[in-house]
Amino acid sequence: MAALVVTLAAIMLSGVVAPLLLIGVAVLLPAAVAGVVRELSRIALLLSLPLAISVVLVNVFFFPAGETVLLRIGPIVATAEGLRFAVEILLRLAAISGAIVLFYLSTRPGDLVIDLEARGVSPRLAFVANASVQTVPTMVERAADIAAAQRARGLDSEGSPWARVRGLLPLVAPVVLGSIAEVEERTMALEARAFTRPGRRTLLWRPADSRGQAVARWLLVAALPLLIGLRAAGWLAWLG
């Protein structure tokens, strides 16, 4: 819920101060409480880096309304207006990726599935939601195993960037095909454990949900229309 609200808020809030406040209060503060600031920063940076690079290049050098020239390289001109806009977008991106990574780091997939099921979501749907989250670390582990096996057979995948790119190619097919082959056996194993049985499963437990957490959720839900209203009324302009 918090990740969703932060993401929507980041989209709605413009300027520099508001997204900074959002990152500080809604991402870094809870991450510090959970003790995952370093891991969150690393993963969020890796996750948003490709998009961030393109945002900076496109906006700094090709901002249509740019007038104040900061730098000129032949026909390409970097403008102050473009830089400011790029910073605004980067802050929103940081808030969104930070919120998503915080959710990933602070929520056990099993807890999510059980809680979704307890709230009436179909076990199949909950399983798909969880499997999507779980696929990434599984594929990373598989890629590491295959890379080690390829290196043992003489593949040079370290050193120069070109060698690393070349080393990636023999990894792609075994990682993707291996994952697809595993899916079939995994499906059979799930079917053999009656996962496709219609009706509700018996749940042995539910994740703890304190009154404080419930109140925080409702406050977050209430904050969204409030933000939309303030933005529509132009009362958030002072944060820009």
């Binding site: 099993g110 499997a131 995994r186 053999a192 499963r201």
Partner: protein
Amino acid sequence: MLELDGITYRYAGAPRPSMHEVSLTLADGEVVGIVGASEAGKSTLCLVAAGLAPRTVGGSLSGRVLLDGHDAAPLAMHQLAERVGICFANPATQLSRVTATVYEEVAFGPMNLGLPRGEIIDRTGAALEALGVADLAEREPARLSGGQQQLVAVAGLLAMHPQHLVLDEPTAQLDPAGTQLVAEALARLAADGASILIAEQKTDLLAQICTRIVALEAGRIALEGAAADVLADERLTGLGVALPGSVRIRRLAEAASLGSPQRDKLATALATLDAPA
């Protein structure tokens, strides 16, 4: 009773069937071992017996699979899962990956069956104890070794209390102690009346728990009979199957021309080795 009646099965897109006219009956409480070289059809036989082929795997099947005398074809997969359990060789693909602890992983199947909480707790505890993994109950399944994961997978299967059990190389990743735990658990299940079909390379394990052995070659039954007879059959080696240690030692003793009293002593010792735990 689990019965395969004239089964011929071809995988989708395969030029020829992987199984030809195979008929096999497992009485309640009977443990039947399947042996054969790679590609002999052991895994295919397991998939057919468990109802996964062609339901999930696809392909075409002729012949019938009968459960307690009734055709299994009209049953949905989840109905079949309540009666026939299957375990594969690769533990990594058998874990649900949605559970945080071994306890939840073993309880996953009974939870899917919608059983009462008390019964799930009883079954899960008993299965964990039977496979010697009760001390792993709070561990994360994904962080276990391959052998431990396999024991957890078998425990998850046992917790579903299927009447019929199909196991495709369930001890492939297990050390001797783990293999022995599986053997003991299967022997107990058979004693309680479950029929068990087990494809396995470890003939020592089969000698310990099986009443009957079926040897496959190119999708056909090449040898079938009482476990002691088939596992001592000269033709088994030609089918790509290693003879059990006890049979090899007995042959060595015969080749070394040991006297009758020594041979009898050795035979008694070997019988103790082969006896079900």
